[in-house]
Structures are given as structure tokens and as C-alpha cells.
């Protein structure tokens, strides 16, 4: 399985072949608390890096989710509509948000790796 890369907005992205899967980090789901609703982007939409394209709502707050890199939405995680708590229980697994195609592999590689993200979390703690 390919390595995860991370953004300062606490998204993770995993590029496998030409499809990148995106979700929010364990740190993000812990900070949000119990997730009760997600608003996901529709397939076919072209998104740019840093664009707010999804919303995650916990009991206490709403938070935007950004596209880590540019690309075209090919799928959103339909399971989250029924069971948004997957984001809490499995943030980097079953709790993924959406998949992108046509992404620039170099743009993904330029994001933080796990060690860099862990160091970044130290600075925001």
C-alpha cells in the first residue's frame, strides 16, 4: 500500500496508480469528536488544490475539508451517508471521503510524509 501524505489542514492522501484517495487524519477526527454528517463532492467535478470541497460536521462543530491537490472527483464514499461514525472509527481506512483522478504525482509527493506531519502536529499542539 502506498504511503500516506498529509496537509496542514489535516487531510491525508494516498496515491495508488492514477487514483488518489483522500480523508481526514486521526488527529482531525479526534479534535472534531463524534461525526454526525458529511457533505461530499459529486463525481465528475474538477477541483483545484486547496479548494473547500467537503464538509464534516460533528456534534459540536462544522469543518471544511480541502482538496490536497488538483484533480477530478471520481467517487465519494457513499458509506459515510449511512454511517458517518466510520470517520471516527477508521479515519484512514473505511472513513475515506473521496477519490481523485488526474492528479500530479509530484504534487502529492511534495506534501508532508508521516514524520513531517507528526512534527507539524507538535508545533500546533
Amino acid at each position: 500500500m502506498a504511503d500516506l501524505r498529509f496537509t496542514k489542514d489535516h487531510e491525508w492522501i494516498r496515491l495508488e496508480g492514477d487514483v488518489a484517495t483522500v480523508g481526514i487524519t486521526d488527529h482531525a477526527q479526534t479534535a472534531l469528536g463524534d461525526v454526525v454528517f458529511v457533505d461530499l463532492p459529486e463525481a465528475g467535478r474538477e477541483v483545484s488544490a486547496g479548494e473547500a470541497i467537503a464538509v464534516v460536521e460533528s456534534v459540536k462543530a462544522a469543518s471544511d475539508v480541502y482538496a490536497p491537490v488538483a484533480g477530478r472527483i471520481v467517487e465519494s464514499n457513499a458509506a459515510l451517508a449511512e454511517n458517518p461514525a466510520l470517520i471516527n472509527s477508521s479515519p484512514t481506512g473505511e472513513g475515506w471521503f473521496f477519490r481523485l483522478q488526474g492528479v500530479d504525482a509530484a504534487a502529492v509527493a511534495a506534501l508532508m510524509d508521516e514524520a513531517a506531519y507528526a512534527a507539524f502536529l507538535e508545533t500546533v499542539a
Partner: protein
């Protein structure tokens, strides 16, 4: 998330206990308070509805009002600031009321109890300095306000709350709803009222600050009792249809608009001698322009405070509290709408991030109150 002055947050006497329990501390009304513990808001909320939850509400303002000639003098003095019937409050009884402004707005909401030899007040943390100054300034000679900054306040709420506390002080089980008395609980002298702000049966307990931590630990050791933070307190009170000062009521909202006319004493509605009586009277006679109502969004998406409310594309109000109701298992909100749109079942649209979400006016509370009767 940080608020101005975040470095100089006050702490309650239970701050060390909260941290020890893994509480996530956030700024609230100038205090560092636990928004949740590791169980999370959802679990803490549901535990309160099914068993018993312990809340630290020590940030709230407590005070005594003492009259040289007895509580009658103190009650008469307090009525200068509130439309509540304080003079009619019998010893051993507590009542919810509003402090009103001359313009008919709500200065604060509060609890007042008659302890026999004095009145006991509990006011909001965010308003306590203003409230105490307002009361001090209005008091006649012979009546004194004594703030009680050295007391903690804990709320034990839920269907198992009274049975749990009664294992330490059996007399509490005999308190009626909105009854109050002093009890010795595990060696701690406590002022205990059968009241709260969750819609559940339960008690609020005022204890000396230096006894608060050992007292709280004794309560947490009781069967069925778990700690709950401000997050659960907020979702519980919202489902119960109870107002949060600063969100649902403030100096711009009147008691009539807020649907809190029931807090105005019957005698006070013949005397009309409270601050803002003119506006209240006009609105009771002619109808308020807007009313606080419950709102149920369709689907799962919550609508938060300040969400614009529309009817047929026209703005007619605003959400003042909104979120997800764990017991309702869906989004719930309250807010103000123009009176002609305030009837139960009226269709509304909530403008969430630019998109209209269909919703309906819904009766409050969202979850039935289960107070002791």
C-alpha cells in the same frame, strides 16, 4: 479557536480533576472548562439520558440576598429587577426567572431559591459581574447581596441521579421538583436543589470550593455516574428546549418573543412594575413580531447558530442554537421566526452554506422533560 485573553483563563475548583479524567479543556465565559471527556459528547449525552451524568457548573455565579428584616425584604428588592414572583416563593422552593432591562430585553436568566433566612441566586457565568453590579445598584438599605465565589456548583442529572445521591443523603429523594434544602453529603455541607438544565430529573449542589474535588470524586464513585462536559450540557439543554443566554436570549429579545412568559408571575402581570413592563404588556396584547420556536431540519445536516431562516425564499428569522441531538438522533435547532411563520409544522428553509435545507417548526422540547413530579 483561541479567544482573546486565553492565557488568563480562570479555573474552577475542579480543574485538576477534569484534567485527571482526560477532559478536553476549552475557554468558556472566561473559564477553562471541559467540553468533553474521552467518552465523547455523544456518549456523555446519552449516558445522562439513561443513567446519571456529573457536570461541573462552578463557573456560574452564586450569591445570597439577605434582608435585615427577613427574606420578604430581599424578595421585594429582587422584584425591582425581575418579572418573576419572588415574594410568593415559599421556603424550600426554587424558581427560574429573568432579569429584564428597562427596554424589555433580557439582562440574564437565573435561578432564585428561598432558603428560609435568605435568598440563594445562581446566574450565568458570562453575566455574573454585570448581574451582581445591577442587583447591588438596585438594593434598598437593609438588603445585601453576598456573592459566593468560594463555592463550587455541581449538577448530577439523569434518571438515576437522585437514586445515586440518595445513597449518600437519603433525604434528597424526598425533595420535590424545584425543591431545595441543605444536606450533609459524605461529610460535605451542600445546598441541594432538585433541578437542572438537561430536561432530566436530578440535582444541583452548591458546596464549599475546598471540598469540591473530594465531593465530586465521591459522586463519581457512585453506581451509574459518569462525568459529562459542556458539549453534552449544550446538546441536552437544546433537546430540552432550554435557552442559552447570549445565544437564544439577550438584551434584544423580550420575554414574550422568547416564549418565556410563564416566568412572569401572575401578580406581576397585574402590577406591571418590573423593568420593561411596557414592552411586555404591548407584546402580550398585540403579539410579538417574532417568536422563539423549535426547528427540525430534514435529513441529517445540522444548522448552527446564525443560520438564516427563510420561508418561500424570503428571510424571516435566524437560528440561535443548532446542532445534532443525540437522543433525537437527528439535527435540532431553535431560533426566532416572524410570528406568522411560528405555528408548529410551518415549512421553513435553512440557508446552510448557501443552500436551502428544508425544515419545519417543531414543538419544544424535542425530548420530553422527565422531571420529578
Amino acid at each position: 479557536m483561541a479567544e482573546p485573553g486565553g492565557e488568563s483563563l480562570l479555573e474552577t475548583p475542579l480543574a485538576a480533576l477534569h484534567r485527571g479524567l482526560g477532559g478536553r479543556m476549552v475557554p468558556f465565559a472566561g473559564y477553562a472548562m471541559p467540553v468533553q471527556y474521552p467518552a465523547g459528547i455523544m456518549a456523555e449525552h446519552l449516558h445522562c439520558r439513561s443513567a446519571a451524568a456529573l457536570f461541573d457548573v462552578s463557573h456560574m455565579g452564586q450569591a445570597e440576598l439577605v434582608g435585615a428584616g427577613g427574606t420578604a425584604d430581599a424578595a421585594k428588592a429582587l422584584e425591582l429587577l425581575t418579572p418573576a414572583d419572588v415574594q410568593g416563593l415559599k421556603p424550600g422552593r426554587q424558581r427560574y426567572g429573568l432579569l429584564t432591562t428597562m427596554a424589555g430585553g433580557i439582562f440574564d436568566d437565573f435561578m432564585v431559591a428561598n432558603l428560609g433566612d435568605r435568598l440563594f441566586l445562581v446566574v450565568n457565568a458570562s453575566r455574573k459581574a454585570e448581574d451582581f453590579a445591577l442587583i447591588e445598584a438596585a438594593l434598598p438599605a437593609g438588603v445585601a447581596l453576598r456573592p459566593l465565589p468560594d463555592r463550587a456548583l455541581l449538577a448530577l442529572q439523569g434518571p438515576q441521579a437522585v437514586a445515586a445521591i440518595a445513597t449518600l443523603a437519603p433525604g434528597i429523594a424526598a425533595l420535590p421538583f424545584m425543591g431545595i434544602g441543605t444536606f450533609d453529603i459524605a461529610g460535605t455541607p451542600a445546598i441541594v436543589s432538585r433541578s437542572g438544565y438537561t430536561g432530566e430529573d436530578g440535582v444541583e449542589m452548591s458546596v464549599p470550593a475546598d471540598r469540591a474535588e473530594s465531593f465530586a470524586r465521591a459522586l463519581l464513585a457512585l453506581a451509574g455516574v459518569a462525568p459529562a462536559g459542556l458539549g453534552a450540557r449544550d446538546s441536552l439543554r437544546l433537546e430540552a428546549g432550554l435557552c442559552l443566554y447570549g445565544n437564544d436570549i439577550d438584551e434584544t429579545t423580550s420575554p414574550v418573543e422568547a416564549n418565556l412568559v410563564w416566568t412572569i408571575g401572575k401578580r406581576r402581570r397585574t402590577e406591571w412594575n418590573f423593568p420593561g413592563a411596557e414592552r411586555v404588556r404591548e407584546e402580550l396584547d398585540g403579539g410579538a413580531k417574532r417568536l422563539r420556536v423549535g426547528i427540525r431540519p430534514e435529513g441529517r445536516q445540522p444548522a448552527r447558530a446564525h443560520t438564516e431562516v427563510q420561508a418561500g425564499g424570503t428571510p424571516i428569522g435566524e437560528v440561535t442554537s443548532g446542532g445534532f441531538g443525540p437522543s433525537v438522533n437527528g439535527p435540532v435547532a431553535m431560533g426566532y421566526v416572524a410570528r406568522e411563520h411560528a405555528a408548529d409544522g410551518t415549512p421553513l428553509e435553512l440557508m446552510v452554506r448557501g443552500k436551502p435545507i428544508p425544515a419545519r417548526v417543531a414543538p419544544l422540547p424535542f425530548t420530553p422533560h422527565r422531571y420529578a413530579r
